[in-house]
Subunit: 194 residues, 2 copies
């Protein structure tokens, strides 16, 4: 009747326009202590990995596997928020083959790809203020394909998740971009199923 329970975490971030994931050749794992909640266990893992606090970012439970028995989560954090400077983040592609957690990474990516189509969770990969181009870069990194600029902007603005700050990015050697923020930095589902 007694079993060991492990909790595993995939932490995604964006680095130089690429989707990266924490961990060198495996995802961070820890044992769930007796009477410890799943939430606090994941938070601890996240703190170890990033030096930051999970409750300030987006995370969700992915799946539970056995052999060994593990509950798997993923989380999203902007790269500049990773305070743990020895943390290793590697491009998602390097986890494709031969990686012990390759299946998990692949499934997590798929879930993330679905999720960004109908929620605002990418807020958790960006600073408070950003330009539409920066936002588009994040989408392209996650979806692993180029998007059309005009269509992307139309869609994003029509979803009503963004607020224009009225200010513009200064000091760039090109036309300055409008600065946007997310209306809410909590998970919001946008497509209503009637």
């Amino acid at each position: 009747m007694q079993n060991n329970i492990r909790v595993k975490l995939a932490v995604f971030s964006i680095l130089e326009g690429k989707l990266v994931i924490h961990g060198d050749n495996h995802l961070p794992v820890t044992d769930l202590k007796k009477r410890e909640s799943l939430d606090s266990c994941v938070s601890e893992l996240f703190d170890n990995a990033t030096g930051n606090t999970l409750s300030d970012f987006y995370s969700e439970q992915l799946y539970t596997v056995d052999h060994p028995f593990s509950v798997v989560y993923f989380a999203l954090i902007p790269h500049f928020q990773i305070l743990n400077k020895v943390a290793v983040f590697k491009p998602i592609n390097s986890h494709k083959f031969g990686h012990p957690d390759a299946e998990i990474v692949s499934y997590a990516l798929q879930r993330l790809q679905w999720k960004i189509e109908y929620t605002n969770v990418v807020y958790s990969l960006l600073p408070d203020e950003f330009t539409l181009s920066e936002l588009q870069t994040v989408y392209e990194a996650i979806l692993n394909k180029k998007l059309d600029k005009r269509n992307f902007r139309k869609k994003m603005l029509s979803l009503g998740l963004l607020t224009s700050s009225g200010r513009k990015k200064k000091g760039v050697k090109a036309r300055p971009a409008e600065i946007y923020t997310f209306k809410s930095r909590n998970p919001q589902i946008v497509k209503i199923f009637s």
Copy 2:
């Protein structure tokens, strides 16, 4: 480090055009035995509940909760396949309030509602042969709303999941309906994300 793991199962079926769920005032649960796989544990639960074999039907893992620690699954079975004649199946609505597993049932229903929009998993609620009206009844029970007959038929046929048998239902006191089968009785995702 040692924790008890439980496995919980929501079994859905269709009875008299209504979505029903197995269990009287709680969902069936069992302890995961040491070194037992999740799959075999769920299969055992399903067998107890229905007298039938899980591998012949559709099931999926839903979520893992703690306090108490449980991995929750749901499964779909046509009513005539329930061989255990003492099994209790109750309409989904009776689980709305005051039910100890109400949250789980509600989440399972939501997942099921999403799933039938882009997969063929309803095969697991129907006999091999069925009419489009019977299929529509199943969709209406799950979605809890009336659907337009013409639009429903157009959509179903265009998805390419069904085969017409060429035969018609005999002995009915109205115009006999064409009999259809599912091309595949394994889970198929129809919307391709390019």
